[in-house]
């Protein structure tokens, strides 16, 4: 049964659903300003992914085009996005939790990565420099590094997280809808500490991998997926949006939810990714050699703690 789902889900296209819970009129000017200020940092990432799915001795190789939204987190061209757009890690975890055998693995290798920046039609070449499968974050660096600085969201000036606090998420439509920027709002509805600290949201948001701001304009964190370690469902707060690699569409009773990961934790990952970029700049000679998989299933090899 899960096998069928694998096949089915891998073929699912990314979808789109509208936002809800409109803010009051009083907040509108602040939100308009927030969108105007942060939209330039929200970019479109296009990838061609080679995927290798293996189970029961069978192997399927495929290639698919993916379009995702990401956010520039450094003026030098480092883009953060949901790892689930580029990697099958969450998918594998999900199916493992649903009883897939140990020999089920799925690996994705970005065969081509391009970033389209707001206000330009140009596709800028990019490289996947780092990922954090736990946090569901991926980092893509424009390559070559741009001469002119880009608009970026700065996570060092983060706002406080409290239940009830309204948040706004800045995203962009797909290129088929003019890549128009848009806003989604919700409130922080609760907090989990396991498997890690993350904040529950009270609105069904779509902007996975994108930053959430307080209405004062300060960034609060990133919307990412969290998989219930037990594979059981999240109770009332189910619902998340489709991820490119084929994570299920919004559906009842799924063990994955969309949460806000606090800016502090995101910042650590950003710093590590920036260190990678610097390291890469030092060792460019070695980098062009050979095929490197971006992202792999965190398989049983790494089973230690």
């Amino acid at each position: 049964m899960w096998r069928l789902m694998v096949l089915f889900l891998l073929l699912l296209p990314a979808g789109f659903a509208g936002a809800e819970s409109p803010p009051s009129d009083l907040e509108a000017p602040a939100l308009a300003q927030l969108l105007e200020r942060n939209a330039p940092a929200v970019v479109t990432v296009r990838a061609r992914l080679r995927s290798l799915v293996r189970f029961g001795g069978d192997q399927q190789e495929n290639e698919q085009a993916v379009e995702a939204r990401g956010v520039m987190v450094s003026p030098r061209g480092l883009v953060l996005l949901s790892n689930s757009y580029l990697s099958a890690t969450r998918l594998v975890e999900l199916y493992r939790s649903m009883g897939a055998p140990e020999d089920f693995t799925a690996q994705t290798i970005p065969a081509e990565l391009r970033v389209v920046v707001a206000g330009s039609d140009r596709e800028l070449p990019a490289v996947l420099v780092a990922s954090d499968a736990d946090l569901d974050l991926a980092f893509v660096q424009l390559d070559p590094v741009p001469e002119e600085p880009f608009s970026a969201v700065d996570f060092t000036s983060a706002g406080p997280l409290t239940v009830g606090r309204p948040i706004a998420v800045v995203s962009r439509l797909g290129s088929s809808f003019d890549a128009a920027p848009y806003l989604e709002t919700a409130r922080l509805a609760g907090r989990i500490t396991r498997p890690r600290e993350a904040w529950l949201l009270d609105g069904p948001l779509t902007a996975v991998g994108l930053p959430a701001f307080g209405f004062d304009g300060r960034p609060l964190g990133i919307l990412t997926t969290v998989l219930s370690p037990s594979g059981s469902t999240l109770g009332q707060k189910e619902g998340y949006e489709p991820l490119a690699i084929g994570l299920p569409q919004r559906r009842e009773n799924q063990p994955i939810g969309l949460f806000l990961v606090p800016a502090a934790r995101v910042r650590v990952a950003i710093d590590a990714a920036l260190a990678r970029v610097a390291e890469r700049a030092r060792t460019t000679d070695a980098a062009t050699n050979g095929e490197m998989p971006s992202e792999a299933d965190r398989n049983r090899d790494a089973g230690g703690s």
């Binding site: 061609r48 420099v129 780092a130 954090d132 736990d134 990678r276 890469r280 095929e291 230690g304």
Partner: protein, 680 residues
Amino acid sequence: MKTRLVLLFALVMTCLPAARLHGEAPPVVELSEPAIDQALAAVYPALVNLSVVRERFVEGRAVRSLVAGSGVIMTPEGHLLTNHHVAAGAVRVRATLSSGEQVEAVVVAHDPPSDLSVLRLCDPGRRRFSPAVFGDSEALAVGEPVLALGNPFVLASSVTRGIVSNPRRVFTDRAGSEILDPEGAGGATGVLAPWIQHDALILPGSSGGPLVDLAGRVVGINELGGEGFGFAIPAHVAAEVLAQVLTYGEVRRAWTGLTLLPAERRGRADGTLVAAVAPESPAAAAGLRAGDLLLRVGETPTGARFFEEVPPIYRALAALPRGEPVAVTWEREGKEYRAELMPMPLETAQGREGELRKLGVTVQEITGPMLRKRRLATRDGLLVTGVRPASPAARARPRIEIGDQLVAAAGHPVSGIASLRQRLGQVTGDSLLVELRRGGESILSAVSFAERAENVWGGELPRAWLGVRTQVLGPEIGTTLGVAEGGGFRITEVLPATAAARAGLEPGDLLLALDGQPFRSRRPEEAGDLRQEIAAREIGSRIRLDVQRGGVAREVEVELEAEPRDPADLPRRREERLELVVRDLTRFDRLRLRLGPEATGALVVEVASGGWADLAGVRGDDLIVAFDRQPVTDAEAFLRAAAAPCELAACTRELLVERSGQTQILCVETIPEGGVPCGD
């Protein structure tokens, strides 16, 4: 015939146990042992068992598999007959002679319409082989004793005996029969002659072996069987095929475009009913139409009242001199017509197929029958039969699709597989324009060969880890160990040379708190909590663990280190020729595969199905330690060793791998550039 053949074979496989229990051959004819001995003495030396590496084309790439069959030597120079369904797609053939000796063989010609292929044994020593001789298959009568020789179930040379059940057997079914497929477009093989049906046991692997009479003369070539039935191609067809191949190097047949049915359908005893006339065929040009009753070709009457009599008419038509007009006479609505018909060469139903690996497609040469069957507008270029996923062809804009005709590449018209392959080999740039014919459209497609490897640099971000494996302390275990209250973890393994090992943690230790915070994990699904807690810490930071060991509480301080690199993040190196992917060995691999800390080699992480490595039995997690006796220390060394040209004539490479604690040799066979040398 293919589908039916497969069907029968499938039946054999499923019914085998029953057949073993109840399938006693009816004792019809008492064969004396001396008679059998005599027959065998004449033919046994000519019997060969064939092991064939077959190339098929699946999803845009060549996929190889091993096929077993039988054959019979018919000339002192080593020409042998076997079934086309054994030798089809053969890229390498190994023949085992009756002496047990193994000899390479090469395909001389295929003849799909008769399901025969002619092969030649390679013989650098120019020795003489012991050929069998043909008997008279036309003279076979029902009940005549016959022996079937071959290699059933790859059980080496076997002999079974039986009688002729029906010397002229035609497969018919409600829709007509095989005889409605004279061009063999549907894989029909019973068009040219009725088969000999007999009850000598025939099993998969017997295919291509001889059916002989008690004088040891070849009266047929066994083709298929099952459930006590055996079917053989009559010797007179086989003799004709062999003679043509020896003379022309191929089988030459004429094409008229006629499809025939027995005259009985019209209540007639003379003539043959024309069931269909291929468009633009010689018969169509002569004015023949479906429904006509064919009376004579030249001055020879073409009477086929019953199904069994139709194949000889086809054979007579196929034997017409090509390009020489012949008078045909037919009857239509009571009137007799006569016209000249100009037979054309019969083309093979399926053109040659090949892989263009650089592009990621398989293509097929377009033959006349394909043109008609697929209703293609032109015969230009090559037909795309498969597109490899994630290949340049699959990524081309617009993408190349199955059924496209590849008519030009880089502005040059495509004429054949070999020349196109050569042209592709000369492409130095990153891209290429190809012209495709798709239905009535002519489409230009841009193919990019740009490397795809440079889009990834680095993998997972480093995170802190301890270096232990643990189990979660549930209430059941906890109670027994005296920690009923709180949750926690029990160390099940301390990985060597890790922070945990240096800090003195031991298997069996109970971890109860981290920096004074008691663990809350109690349920199996919370087993990952420890890893999460540790991963949230900084690398290099120190943690304090409350540990209970042997009932005694103690504190252990650990300086966290970075988790070793996920093996899946390591560079993977693809060996294109053998079609496998290797990478370097990591510490995790050594632990997982229980290799010693000193182990080196190239770890196999992917084996393409149907590639040469796959065929040799190479598997994932094999550790390659030597290649052609050169030690292999890492992935790079393996690639270097594999790149060296093979020196052995037969190009068999010797791979030494560590698998499940033992070292074993795997022989990887490939085909040398320019094909297998055959002692010419």
